[in-house]
């Protein structure tokens, strides 16, 4: 009897919990699903030619017990080395954490019952994203750095308003959150692409959304995530800060959240088209973004505080950005919304200047402080899209930041700073004016682990500054 997709999705969630008790983490579970879903999908969409004979869904499904588990292991190994590019991308270095044949059977049976076409529209994609989110919140996995909270993504997409026909890029794609949200936005505006011509639809499915991801494990999750949302465009496995990044097609829209942290062991990007060489990864990504936009293209990028105040190359890059692009809005995000507590981040919204206009594009920058005097988000106070309501209203409906805006003055959250104001501050964009008066309501206290993380973050900042101080001192004596 055919179950509805909803039932199957519920089953898969349930299985997830059962397997968790057996020690299977969210990360491992979502990876298992990736492999199995790919095989099933290939069958359903008549795309099994990319898989070597004997290593396809029916081969797996028809086996039983220990045989099935052993075959599964062999299949993963085999497909990781033979098959089309797409197959290799999914199965490279794939291993299974399943130890009990019964569990594999449950998974295979549940997926076998999936009606692929309705599954995609009826929640399979959501399930997948839901698992990714759970994965991200498991601190030990460190997977949080590849996952941007959905409310933040949705808000950024809502403000930037990607349109059908535009090239949308994420050079630090992670698990594909931004690209999927942008696709969702376009579909909602075009009656699920029905209002477009066939050619335009093809563009949306095959070309519009593209990006790069560095880490293999994450890359395969991104591929599957996109596939489940009917996006066939390529995500390259590689390093945007290498020559690969130079070859990316210029974009109409760039939405991204580059990974936090410094490049391990220092080191400069290996591409050499950057004007400003620095080992600070976020500053490098920023350079990539404003250089890789088409003239008139727009971007929204999540960056930590140090990008706003780092001196030397940081200041140079900020000046370059404000020359080549109109940095119209900065949103200071609350702490506590990312996996890494205490990390202070911002969203920079900017528009690349028109062709041949690469000086003086920024006349003024509006800054919205959503950091001071906010509730502590975390397990006890959910972080939802609601939190952005005031900001979105203040930002206005123009995706280029040109709506009429109101400066709320020193007591308010939204203020305008002219280019001269910023220059007078040494081109330091780390601007705050609200006093943080948040008293500690015991009901509002974050979890101990979250505060511990914030303490660590402060110590880390102190260490970073002291190390830099030391280097500056040594540079002379």
């Amino acid at each position: 009897m055919a179950e509805t997709t909803t039932d199957i999705v519920a089953k898969l969630w349930n299985l997830c919990h059962i397997l968790r008790d057996d020690g299977i983490t969210y990360h491992q579970y979502v990876s298992e699903l990736t492999y199995l879903l790919f095989l099933k999908m290939a069958k359903e969409t008549d795309a099994e030619k990319q898989l070597p004979k004997g290593f396809r869904w029916s081969n797996l499904e028809s086996k039983e017990g220990v045989d099935q588990l052993n075959f599964y292991r062999e299949l993963l190994l085999h497909l990781g080395t033979k098959g089309s590019d797409r197959v290799l991308a999914i199965f490279a270095n794939a291993t299974t954490a399943l130890k009990v044949p019964r569990n594999l059977k449950k998974l295979v049976d549940a997926i076998d019952d999936l009606d692929w076409y309705s599954a995609k529209t009826e929640g399979l994609g959501d399930l997948y994203e839901g698992l990714l989110e759970k994965n991200a919140s498991e601190k030990k996995s460190g997977a949080g750095q590849y996952f941007t909270p959905r409310p933040l993504i949705d808000s950024m997409v809502h403000l930037v308003k990607p349109q059908a026909g535009e090239l949308v890029q994420d050079p630090a794609a992670g698990t594909g959150g931004f690209l999927i949200a942008a696709d969702r936005y376009v579909k909602a505006a075009t009656d699920d692409l029905a209002e477009l011509t066939v050619k335009q639809q093809d563009f949306q499915i095959r070309q519009a959304f593209y990006g790069v991801e560095l880490v293999q494990d994450t890359h395969r999750l991104a591929l599957m995530n996109l596939m489940l949302h009917d996006i066939e465009a390529p995500i390259e496995l590689g390093d945007t800060l290498s020559p690969l990044g130079e070859r990316l097609a210029p974009a109409d829209v760039i939405l991204t959240n580059p990974p936090f942290g410094t490049k391990k062991g220092g080191g400069l990007p290996t591409r050499d088209d950057f004007t400003y060489r620095t080992s600070n990864k976020q500053l490098c990504f920023l350079q990539h973004v404003y250089r890789n936009l088409k003239p008139g293209g727009r971007a929204a990028i999540v960056l930590p505080d140090n990008v706003l105040f780092e001196e030397n190359s940081g200041a140079d890059i900020r000046r370059d950005l404000m020359d080549k692009a109109d940095l119209h809005t900065i949103l200071r995000l609350p702490t506590g919304i990312f996996y890494a507590q205490g990390v202070k981040t911002n969203v920079l919204f900017f528009t690349k200047g028109e062709k041949n206009k690469d000086k003086g594009n920024t006349k003024s920058t509006w800054i919205y402080d959503m950091r001071a005097n906010m509730p502590s988000f975390g397990k006890r106070t959910a972080f939802t899209r609601e939190a952005f309501a005031e900001f979105e209203a203040a930002f206005g409906s123009d995706p280029y930041g040109k709506s009429r805006r109101k400066d709320t003055g020193e007591e308010g959250r939204f203020r305008k700073f002219t280019r001269e104001d910023i220059k007078a501050r040494g081109d330091n964009l780390d601007i705050a004016w609200l006093r943080d008066d948040s008293a500690h309501d015991p009901d509002d206290l974050p979890e101990p682990a979250d505060i511990a993380d914030e303490i660590m973050e402060n110590l880390r900042v102190a260490m970073t500054e002291m190390e830099a101080l030391r280097r500056e001192l040594e540079a002379t004596s």
């Binding site: 015991p442 206290l445 974050p446 101990p448 500054e465 002291m466 500056e472 001192l473 002379t476 004596s477």
Partner: protein, 455 residues
């Protein structure tokens, strides 16, 4: 200055490289207006005046009072009022103000005169020897110091944030402990899933507390007895230990031994040991939970004696530190304008959800291991913070020994510049006294001052 100066540097009295003079002694803070040009007093740039007397960069020295020796960098259009000395590089400046400011802004640099009201004499300022590098090198030094300062400032700010965060952490740990979060895994192994229960507290601080369903609802009064303190008349107090006397413990003794007080043994009524749980009855801050001293205790303290058959002493010790309970007690005491301090009956009525003894012990263990580590982190951060202050001073010292930036042999040495200044001054010397008199007359009327030269 006895150490050797780097090549190109020269040591010169301040009076030779800058115009040193008293600030305008006729201006006081009474002349301040709400908007205008910045004005410096001995406390710093703390007001505005309708006119300005200086239109250049300079250093303002606090010359009289508690903060004498502190310097401020003045730029743009400004004035200095009574009790200050202005040090303004003049003519062809041999020193840039920013460099001078960083050199001079050290309170231990200045010879201070006077007793009750310390001051710095103008003569001392003019004769103070300063190391003068070539001007180009001065700029490099200032730029370097600014960069280092930024880093140092951010490191210090990050470190300063740590102790309050550790406090917050402690509160969060306690809240989590008494919600049952810290031992959720332990209970899960024993009993699988569990429900919750809660109690609502009304006046004077409305809130809810919740706990696992398996814990027993009780109240503080059922689980411990609060015993007040006692003290004899003040006339019997002495400050040094003596035979036949015992320590009388007061709240402030938990912070410092400076106020140790002793009373005759036979007049002492209420005693505590160093492991007893003590409560500060009055504040601020009210309801401190204290431990660690032995002796007789006074009426500002109360002892909480646990019913050890039901509640572990350590568990009670931490429960009493629950942030919600403190707010509850505070709210209660505020109603009587703090006169009564902690109200015993109200405290007795406050609910406790009590876990089984074994779980109490486990909770205490987990609280302590988390807090212990974080106390260490706090000390480390405070230590690092102190070290940063020392580092800042060391960097300055290095700068003024010429070791912070490289010397450039192409820089024109400072001595050459000084010679030129001396020559200029000798030329202008004849006109100086006239100019000074004219300047004084003008400034009395509060109008713009002509920059003159020091003698």
């Amino acid at each position: 200055m006895t150490q050797e100066l780097p090549k190109g540097w020269i040591s010169a009295p301040l009076g030779e490289v800058a115009a040193c003079d008293w600030g305008n002694t006729t201006l006081t803070k009474a002349a301040y207006v709400s908007n205008g040009f910045i004005a410096f007093s001995a406390s710093g740039p703390d007001g505005f005046l309708p006119n300005y007397e200086q239109d250049c960069e300079g250093v303002v020295l606090s010359a009289i009072g508690a903060r004498c020796g502190k310097c401020f960098l003045a730029t743009g259009k400004w004035s200095a009022i009574k009790n200050t000395i202005t040090i303004v590089p003049d003519g062809i400046p041999a020193v840039i103000a920013g460099f001078l400011f960083r050199y001079l802004n050290r309170e231990d640099l200045w010879p201070k005169r006077g007793g009750g009201q310390p001051f710095i004499g103008l003569g001392d300022v003019r004769t103070l020897l300063a190391p003068i590098p070539p001007p180009k090198e001065q700029r490099r030094i200032v730029a370097k110091l600014e960069a280092l300062n930024e880093r140092s400032r951010r490191a210090k700010a990050a470190l300063d944030a740590v102790p309050p965060l550790v406090e917050k952490f402690k509160q969060s740990v306690l809240a989590a402990a008494f919600r049952g979060d810290l031992t959720a895994d332990w209970r899960a192994k024993l009993q699988g899933s569990e429900g919750r229960q809660s109690a609502s507290i009304r006046e004077p601080y409305i809130h809810e507390i919740d706990a696992p369903a398996t814990w027993t609802q009780s109240s503080i009064g059922e689980l411990c007895e609060i015993q007040g303190g006692s003290q004899p008349p003040k006339s019997t107090f002495i400050q040094k230990p003596r035979d036949g006397y015992v320590r009388l413990i007061q709240i402030r003794d938990y912070k410092s031994d400076k106020y140790a007080t002793y009373i005759p043994r036979e007049l002492a009524r209420r005693f505590c040991t160093s492991t007893d749980i003590m409560i500060g009855r009055y504040g601020p801050p009210i309801f401190q939970i204290l431990r660690g001293l032995a002796g007789a205790y006074n009426v500002a303290l109360m002892k909480a004696v646990p019913n050890e058959a039901r509640i572990e002493a350590e568990f009670l010790y931490y429960y009493l530190q629950h942030p919600q309970l403190r707010l509850f007690v505070e709210a209660g005491s505020q109603r009587t304008a703090g006169q009564d301090g902690v109200r015993k009956e109200e405290l007795y009525s406050y609910p406790i959800f009590l876990p089984p003894k074994e779980e109490q012990t486990l909770i205490v263990q987990r609280i302590e291991s988390m807090l212990h580590r974080h106390e260490e982190i706090k000390s480390t951060a405070e230590g690092a913070r102190g070290a940063m202050a020392v580092l800042d001073r060391a960097i300055l010292a290095k700068a003024f020994r010429g070791e912070l930036v490289e010397q450039d042999p192409n820089d024109e040495p400072a001595s050459v510049l000084l010679e030129r200044i001396r020559a200029e001054r000798e030329k202008a010397n004849g006109k100086t006294s006239e100019k000074r008199a004219a300047r004084r007359a003008q400034s009395k009327r509060g109008s713009k001052q002509v920059r003159g030269e020091a003698t």
